[in-house]
Symmetry: D2
Subunit: 232 residues, 4 copies
Amino acid sequence: MSSLSRELVFLILQFLEEEKFKESVHKLEKESGFYFNMKYFEEKVQAGEWDEVEKYLTGFTKVDDNRYSMKIFFEIRKQKYLEALDRQDKAKAVEILVSDLKVFSTFNEELYKEITQLLTLGNFRENEQLSKYGDTKTARNIMLIELKKLIEANPLFRDKLVFPALKSSRLRTLINQSLNWQHQLCKNPRPNPDIKTLFTDHTCTPSNGPLAPTAVNLPVAKPAAYPALELR
Amino acid sequence: MSSLSRELVFLILQFLEEEKFKESVHKLEKESGFYFNMKYFEEKVQAGEWDEVEKYLTGFTKVDDNRYSMKIFFEIRKQKYLEALDRQDKAKAVEILVSDLKVFSTFNEELYKEITQLLTLGNFRENEQLSKYGDTKTARNIMLIELKKLIEANPLFRDKLVFPALKSSRLRTLINQSLNWQHQLCKNPRPNPDIKTLFTDHTCTPSNGPLAPTAVNLPVAKPAAYPALELR
Amino acid sequence: MSSLSRELVFLILQFLEEEKFKESVHKLEKESGFYFNMKYFEEKVQAGEWDEVEKYLTGFTKVDDNRYSMKIFFEIRKQKYLEALDRQDKAKAVEILVSDLKVFSTFNEELYKEITQLLTLGNFRENEQLSKYGDTKTARNIMLIELKKLIEANPLFRDKLVFPALKSSRLRTLINQSLNWQHQLCKNPRPNPDIKTLFTDHTCTPSNGPLAPTAVNLPVAKPAAYPALELR
Amino acid sequence: MSSLSRELVFLILQFLEEEKFKESVHKLEKESGFYFNMKYFEEKVQAGEWDEVEKYLTGFTKVDDNRYSMKIFFEIRKQKYLEALDRQDKAKAVEILVSDLKVFSTFNEELYKEITQLLTLGNFRENEQLSKYGDTKTARNIMLIELKKLIEANPLFRDKLVFPALKSSRLRTLINQSLNWQHQLCKNPRPNPDIKTLFTDHTCTPSNGPLAPTAVNLPVAKPAAYPALELR
């Protein structure tokens, strides 16, 4: 994708955000992979919406891309596992162990075995290394600090953590400019052209003719002069 | 939202579709409520992804908006319920009965009771009215025909079932026009201006000066003349 | 079974009770069907051990034996069902509805439908007829009063509710008498015969001979004279 | 319990068996702990009724009584665990791991860990040591051979594996003898006394008087002469 196409995606993201199409914003962030919205990620982690957390991440990296990514997924799945254990949902815990955590056994078999062994404890805090695990909320926040560090250090997220500085409603501004462009191609542009659609280019009606002289001032140059467009 | 803003959403939908940002497309269809994608709806119904089916619908209507909407939701939830019964997942069936179907008991208590009673049958096809229910796939397709009729007859979906006719990549075309507009504001526009970003308006460099005469031809009028923009 | 065989079962029940073989006692009560132990039944009902409650009952009656029996089973299964609903275990409730309560639908279809409908309430006490249902313990005790009346009125339990009056350890007494009988068949019975087993009849050893004269007093007539038997 | 009391239990066991009070037989075997019925044990193991298998065993030994007992319980619980894994019931498997198998972790921690690890395999036969585990039926039979050896070698089961040789209906024979004894205490015993109950001792009616002479033959000595007793 060209750099201008890429920029267009950012303009759309800004537009969707301004229009409060929140889910669309995050889907596009994810599907384009251009901008990792840390605030959104934080919210989902704090809410424990692990499916969405992982889905969002996969817009940017896979578990085996590098050591940072691996650790990110590991921490998330471990947390998910501990929470299942904590609410005594052992069936779910085994499922997480087999579906989500098994991939890590190749890299650290002993660790995987130790994690499996937690299943047999009444409370996983009996394991010395987990003895300081507090409640769910606290644990998620502690993990979040770690995740943010890993994401910031991860080269795959480089340049994706800051949203470009844009004047508000940049996409609308450009659209307005395009309308100006369409109108000034008329023989006799008017200050208040009646542009009714974005779907097809503006065609100048003959009635524009008599008004031609006023076009000398070229007011069309100032987008703000087209209130009828109502794009803002 | 103004009609031009509304049109801009359609241009974005076209762009997302062309760029294969599929999930973003459907989220925006739903969040804007401007276009009901019947093909997508069909796919989700046929796949039995009831959560997504309902979520998508809520972009356009609520269960109690009118009789059509009510019937749409009723048919979907009934199907979901029958499928749970069919795979002998009675716990899930009761959950659907209580969470999803109960709302309809106000309108037809007898029907709700009859539906509840299906729980006690080994096979709901023992109920005469359901004796012709075939397998899941067939049942979903039969329901789909009904759903499409209901959606087409539903005033809330009027004018939302056809995507407007647009030349391909309409949003890019407009963006190109805006760049043209930016450039022609220069004292001495050139045929091949080097525009590097959409984020800020183009500013004419002094070096444009000597080239001024060529601007007489105003070649900038033809967007196709800017291959460097690479937006397509 | 002859009336004496029947009586022997009672002697065994007394023996098992005295020896604290509690489970054996209740199994024999049930398998013989001779004595319905109301106290045991009460305990099991109050503990909500429905499987054991029903198993025990089947030693005496089947659900369709008469109207009393039907009501007994109905009350128990209804209670079991309401308790499942009360702890929000809807899967179990449906199972009870289908496996345990369905048999009653033939006799009262409307009632069965009404019971099924309770599944759809957040709290079955919303049903007017159940609005006074208190907590589990209270409900079990109220049901128990009803069950006892039904059992007492049920002809199938007639004469099975009172354990016959017996001197303590009656079976041992009879066994002692049998040993006395065995010994007095000796030519020269002695006051303190050394009887070592119940498995085979006592045979008189020649050494008994010289002691013959003492047998004139026939002390063997008093079982208490054989302390060596140690059966008490 | 005296040896004669112990023998009385065996006579009762024989009686219950002859009367087909099967559940009572096994409950009494278990509660007395006098006779371990290998045939019954085999049936329950082959049927996979693990709860009953363990309950029955506890009449004779506890898991930590000796090495044989420990191995018996271990083999049974391991089998129960493997069967849960085999039907993909991981929730049940974890429960068995925690409730039933944990006790063995003190004696062999490594083994316990290895068993826990089976949870994470799609099929426990992937573990080399279990690669030859066939289907459930075969596995139960192989275990049964081992269990029988362990039981036979276990000192706690010594002398409990063979039921004493008894003439049939020994308890009835003794009861008949006791009735004979009661009757011969009459002044004038008759050959066919009308004995109506076991609950109280026989009392001689005056009408016996005239028949006294016949008592000289003492036919009462042969229990078979009392057909009216109908105890057989």
